[in-house]
């Protein structure tokens, strides 16, 4: 790969991501580091994917990343939404994940009791 190709791929990816962000209203990221996984993040991720698929939410992307260092709050789920503050949830069980989809992603009401950060 040459420099020009790297740049082209980067540009295309940026556009794709933007396009994706354009098409998708919301990006939900699950922290999947060792602590997260040990605390059950795989189940959380599965529940999110399942619930989003079941409700056919085409404008929601569920993704995974590393962890952020909130040790005792794992699994951590962050909700990124265009033009809105980022909402971070802690101790997200599979059940809570389903509630987040129903109440936050569908209805726009963050599930208060479990929010650990709101970040504009």
């Amino acid at each position: 790969m040459k420099l020009e190709e790297l740049r082209a791929i980067r540009e295309k990816s940026e556009k794709e991501m933007a396009l994706r962000d354009g098409k998708s209203r919301i990006r939900v990221v699950v922290g999947m580091g060792t602590s997260g996984i040990a605390a059950g993040a795989r189940e959380t991720l599965k529940a999110l994917l399942d619930e989003v698929a079941k409700r056919e939410l085409r404008d929601v992307v569920v993704s995974q990343a590393g962890e952020r260092g909130l040790s005792s709050h794992e699994p951590v789920v962050s909700v990124f939404e265009e033009g809105k503050p980022t909402v971070v949830y802690g101790s997200v069980s599979a059940e809570l994940a389903r509630r987040i989809v129903a109440e936050h992603l569908v209805n726009g009401n963050p599930v208060s009791g479990s929010v650990i950060e709101i970040n504009s």
């Binding site: 790297l6 980067r10 990343a65 590393g66 962890e67 971070v88 802690g90 009401n109 479990s114």
Partner: protein, 536 residues
């Protein structure tokens, strides 16, 4: 989907299923259809909402009303009154739904206070194995600049030197200088090694970087290889870090696929490749010279310095060993310039530092802040203070080879210089907090146990010294100590500092001296107990 004016959530859990939720839901859907409301009202199943023992529940949004004890025969009324006429029928049991109260943070943790995230900025946002996300979020921008601006290896080293970046692995050696020494040492092949052994108790920062942003390390090592004239790099990761190893390997494979590693990186005329080596988890193998032995397939014994690895490292060739966090700073420095890096931190300790806060704090975890942030802020703001409202007694900085600091030094700034002034070290960045009920004697005992266990046994001062120190501390704890034991411990640790072969034995003095200096009373109380018992 926002075209629906109303959503009705139907919580499905054991209780509501038993109470016949599905029949209620079917009736509701039929009613809605019959009244021609399908386009306006949407019925959704959800998991439990935490209200139990109240039969079938229906929650209406955006009105935030929930009905409980719903039967199929109640549904028509709800639809007629609430959905069509917009009023809540009083004959149905209902209540405001205050489960969620807008976006309110109930469980605030200090760990989410504003930080300066540089090396760990992307780790929790970007999928580490999705090359598109990695590139779109600025991955490999440093390497790109080298190629685009035709930066010479010397220019790269110069940029790193100007940034003031110093090693995050403990010693704080200037990174640019280390690279320059390696570059200028005569030798056939040169090597760049990433030290991901992370053996210091209470430290897990490198793991978070490797798990969350492995491409950053691939990029940094490629840049280092280019700068020093090394064609091969090794990532030495402790074997327990299974996920780090997996993600790093994936990143290496992807980089090769994209021509970011290999015989002709970015077709710019230089070759560089990476390989992972797994460590077996011995503390000493984090020391760069023992690490080199281990990499060569031998027992991880430390080497005598000099010669230093920059001249005679892996296979006796010039080698730069750098910590994960150190390397993680490099792509940003090259992409955004030394000037940008210097805007963070202090004059002599530029940039950020990752700390792991643990022990008796409300919010144990990890933060990345600017160098020079006061210890007090780490413990009381980010860490949320001492747990259970108890009083602060001490913080052990930098892990086992670290230093105890008492309450009086809480305002010390966390950078290389300020800590040195207070005879302390930044070390690995671990901050272990101890509350008023914790025993410094016990803590020191457990540290000495660690050292006695991890001493490789090669040199007598360390092999015998760690054992003797452990015995003395054991006696103190068991109430069998003598007044002279404290000075014996200090003398022994000082002797080891001057005579041990490697920094492991040399650094035992750090916890021993600080514990006895700042908390002498606690040790003397042990001795007093002994004398009193003897008198009886």
């Amino acid at each position: 989907m926002s075209i629906y004016r109303t959503h009705i959530l139907v919580p499905i859990d054991e209780g509501t299923v038993q109470a016949g939720v599905f029949e209620v839901k079917r009736t509701l859907e039929r009613e809605i259809r019959e009244r021609g409301l399908e386009g306006e009202v949407r019925v959704l199943e959800t998991g439990t909402v935490g209200i139990v023992g109240k039969g079938v529940l229906l929650a209406v949004y955006p009105d935030r009303i929930y009905y409980s004890g719903m039967r199929p025969s109640d549904v028509a009324l709800l639809v007629e009154e609430h959905l069509l006429k917009g009023r809540v029928p009083s004959s149905l049991k209902h209540a405001p739904l205050d489960l969620q109260d807008g976006a309110k943070v109930l469980h605030r943790t200090g760990l989410t206070l504003p930080q300066k995230r540089v090396v760990l900025d992307k780790a929790w946002k970007v999928a580490p194995d999705d090359m598109r996300e990695v590139l779109a979020s600025g991955g490999y921008a440093g390497l790109e600049r080298i190629v685009a601006d035709r930066m010479t290896p010397e220019a790269v080293i110069d940029e790193v030197k100007k940034s003031g970046l110093r090693g995050r692995g403990g010693a704080g050696f200037p990174t640019g200088l280390k690279w320059e020494l390696t570059r200028n040492s005569p030798g056939g092949r040169k090597y760049i090694i990433c030290n991901a052994d992370e053996g210091e108790p209470g430290t897990f920062k490198d793991r978070l970087i490797l798990e969350g942003d492995p491409h950053r390390i691939v990029e940094a090592m490629t840049i280092a290889g280019y700068a020093m004239g090394a064609t091969k790099g090794y990532v030495y990761i402790r074997g327990e870090y299974a996920l780090s190893i997996e993600r790093m390997q994936k990143a290496i494979d992807q980089a090769r696929e994209y021509g970011l590693l290999g015989p002709d990186v970015l077709e710019h005329g230089f070759a560089f490749d990476l390989e992972i080596k797994k460590g077996a988890g011995a503390y000493i193998c984090g020391d760069e010279t023992a690490l080199l032995e281990s990499l060569e397939g031998k027992r991880g014994n430390p080497r005598i310095k000099p010669p230093y690895p920059v001249a005679h490292g892996l296979w006796q060739e010039p080698t730069s060993v750098n910590n994960v966090e150190t390397l993680a700073n490099v792509p940003g420095i090259i992409a955004r310039g030394a000037g940008w890096f210097r805007t963070m931190g202090t004059e002599k300790s530029s940039g950020t530092k990752v700390f792991t806060i643990l022990g008796h704090v409300e919010h144990p975890g990890l933060v990345e802040v600017e160098m020079g942030t006061p210890l007090r802020e780490l413990v009381f703001s980010y860490g949320g203070g001492v747990s259970g409202g108890r009083k602060f007694k001490a913080a052990l900085l930098g892990g086992a080879s670290g230093v105890f600091l008492p309450e009086g030094l809480l305002d010390v700034r966390m950078d290389f210089e300020s800590l040195k002034e207070n005879k302390a070290v930044l070390g690995s960045g671990a901050v272990l907090v101890m509350d008023e009920d914790a025993s410094i004697v016990d803590m020191l005992f457990s540290i000495l146990k660690f050292f006695a266990h991890e001493s490789c046994g090669r040199c007598a001062p360390c092999r015998i010294g760690t054992r003797q120190l452990l015995n003395l501390a054991w006696k103190l704890r068991r109430g069998k100590g003598r007044e002279t034991d404290l000075d014996t411990m200090l003398r022994l640790a000082e002797l080891m500092c001057g005579t041990a072969l490697c920094p492991l034995g040399q650094s035992v003095i750090m916890p021993v001296r600080s514990a006895i200096e700042y908390f002498r009373g606690e040790f003397e109380a042990c001795v007093k107990k002994t004398t009193e018992e003897a008198r009886v």
